[in-house]
């Protein structure tokens, strides 16, 4: 199946290509993303803004175009993040589950191989992630953190830049059709 560079919306779900990944990729890539988030900022503080696990969730959900698969990947990665955070289990789990589900739903309707689409989706899902987490923090934990939309927008763009490069790299790990 070929994609025209000018088309963004898919005319039907069948038109979207469902990517498949080897099992080790589904394990190693999320693990690497979580390790990146845990260890890299220890040495490079300025890379703390990169939400690598989120980008991996978005990528797998978008490319597999399976809502259940997307939300399960999100739940797993989110719970793993929670395990390594000081917050209770489930905070990242809920947010990443939600992002995975929405990303898979969007992936079934958009040409997610398009770089611009990936860039915009990465910003969008970063904002969804941050806003959802902020709401949960307020409602469940009673934290009174600020609603930093301008900072999130800036980091969303930076994450999107990383996402385009990361997605390009992860495309190479797909099983050939």
């Amino acid at each position: 199946m070929s994609y025209s560079s000018g088309r963004i919306l898919l005319s039907s779900q069948r038109e979207g290509q469902v990517s498949r990944f080897r099992p080790w990729v589904m394990v190693v890539v999320p693990l690497a993303a979580i390790l990146f988030q845990v260890y890299v900022p220890l040495f490079f503080q300025f890379l703390k803004f990169i939400e690598m696990p989120l980008l991996v969730v978005v990528y797998f959900a978008l490319m597999r175009r399976n809502q259940i698969g997307g939300l399960l990947v999100g739940a797993m990665i989110g719970l793993a993040q929670d395990s390594l955070s000081k917050n209770p289990l489930g905070m990242y789990g809920i947010v990443d589950t939600w992002v995975g589900y929405v990303a898979a739903s969007v992936g079934a309707r958009l040409d997610v191989d398009h770089a611009v689409i990936r860039f915009l989706l990465a910003i969008f899902f970063y904002l969804v992630h941050q806003v959802s987490y902020w709401i949960l923090e307020h409602m469940l934990l009673g934290h009174q953190s600020a609603f930093k939309i301008d900072e999130w927008l800036m980091f969303g763009v930076l994450n999107a830049v990383v996402a385009v490069a990361l997605f390009h790299f992860l495309d190479k790990l797909r099983e050939p059709a």
Binding site: L71, L79, G90, I94, A104
Partner: protein
């Protein structure tokens, strides 16, 4: 036909996964009162239902008693009618007390007399579990309740707040196994720790064997435990046995003598008070608040009747002297006629003196029972007037 769950399979899985994680979160997260969120959610969800059930039960029982079980109503009505006349006179004197017997007023009166700031609460359920000595009251964090606050009634301490939810709180009763409070005997010489045992009786621990405690001694809160201020009745010593190194003392909690109270006060701001000298059996629970003084012109304002007999006689003599134009203590050589009445003549008695009076007349100078009781209450209220406040 395709089932909705199958049709919306992805969304169903999403809801289930997120719900599962919400439950996981709720198990871990604790609110400001250190209660897990899932417990708080559960109690907040169950409490209204429990209240409705209790209201329904109460209404049903009342309906059955009042409208269905009318077997003896006729006979009881005749008996009550025959007693009505006899009770009428007594009712006049008892009406104020009966009004004050209202629990809320009693609590309010009690709360006004104590210096601590309290919040009135109603017990609406007991905690789950057959062996639990805890109840749920209808005041929670929204009313300023916090974990660890003491709970009292006019009779004595009842327990302390174990868990606080938004609209309700769980109160561990004094006989709960986890309950402990510092107590001191009435003379203030013996200190110990009153502990619940899951039974009607409580144990008083850490009283050295050489200390003198006897059955019948009253125990009051010592104020050392940072739960109850000093001076609240806690229990009555029922038995004392010597032991090493501490005595084995069993005490009956006064606050639960009448069973689990329906209305309680939660101490939100404790202030120590003196341990009363008199036994608590005459603790004036139903005290009428002092009525506001009627405005009177200063010239005709009579001095307040003093307390002693001599003072009353002096006041009476002064009133008679002033009425006859001989100012009391002026030394003008004229002697007032003390046989004359100083006030308006009293109405003629219905029964002539010496007649067949059914009830013996009190001796002269003895105030009628109601006046005596009223004076006592007024004195008590005046003596106990304090800055105590009650939030309701």
């Amino acid at each position: 036909m395709e089932s909705p769950l199958n049709r919306y399979r992805s969304f169903t899985v999403l809801v289930l996964v997120i719900f599962a994680q919400f439950v996981l979160l709720a198990v871990q997260v604790k609110n400001d009162q250190n209660v897990s969120v899932i417990r708080s959610w559960t109690v907040n969800a169950v409490s209204p239902v429990a209240r409705v059930l209790e209201w329904g039960r109460h209404s049903s029982v009342g309906f059955i008693r009042n409208y269905v079980l009318l077997r003896d109503a006729g006979a009881e009505n005749r008996r009550l009618q025959s007693e009505l006349d006899r009770l009428t006179v007594e009712n006049v004197f008892l009406r104020n007390e009966l009004n004050l017997a209202d629990r809320a007023k009693a609590l309010e009166s009690f709360a006004a007399r104590i210096p601590s700031r309290t919040v009135a609460a109603t017990v609406f359920a007991s905690a789950a579990g057959s062996d639990s000595n805890a109840v749920l009251v209808d005041r929670g964090s929204a009313s300023g309740i916090e974990r660890g606050m003491g709970v009292i009634t006019p009779y004595g301490i009842v327990g302390k707040v174990l868990k606080v939810y938004t609209m309700s709180s769980m109160v561990g009763l004094i006989n709960d196994q986890d309950f402990a409070a510092g107590v001191v005997t009435q003379n203030g010489q013996v200190r110990g720790v009153l502990k619940g045992q899951g039974k009607p009786m409580c144990k008083v621990d850490y009283v050295p064997f050489e200390d003198k405690v006897a059955a019948g001694d009253l125990l009051f809160t010592s104020g050392d435990d940072h739960i109850f201020p000093r001076g609240f009745a806690a229990g009555v010593v029922k038995s004392v046995r010597n032991g090493q190194p501490f005595k084995e003392i069993m005490a009956e909690p006064i606050g639960l003598r009448q069973g689990i109270p329906q209305d309680v006060l939660i101490i939100v701001e404790g202030v120590h008070q003196d341990i009363p000298d008199a036994p608590q059996s005459n603790q004036a629970v139903y005290i009428n608040p002092s009525p506001p003084a009627a405005p009177q012109p200063e010239e005709s304002a009579a001095p307040a009747a003093p307390g002693t007999e001599a003072d009353r006689a002096r006041a009476q003599a002064k009133a008679i002297s002033d009425a006859q134009g001989h100012p009391f203590g002026s030394g003008d050589g004229k002697i007032p006629d003390f046989n004359a009445r100083s006030g308006p003549p009293a109405p003629a008695p219905a029964t002539p003196p010496g007649g067949p009076a059914a009830t013996p007349q009190p001796p002269a100078g003895t105030p009628p029972p109601a006046a005596s009781s009223g004076t006592r209450r007024a004195n008590q209220a005046a003596g106990a007037s304090s800055g105590g406040k009650q939030d309701r």
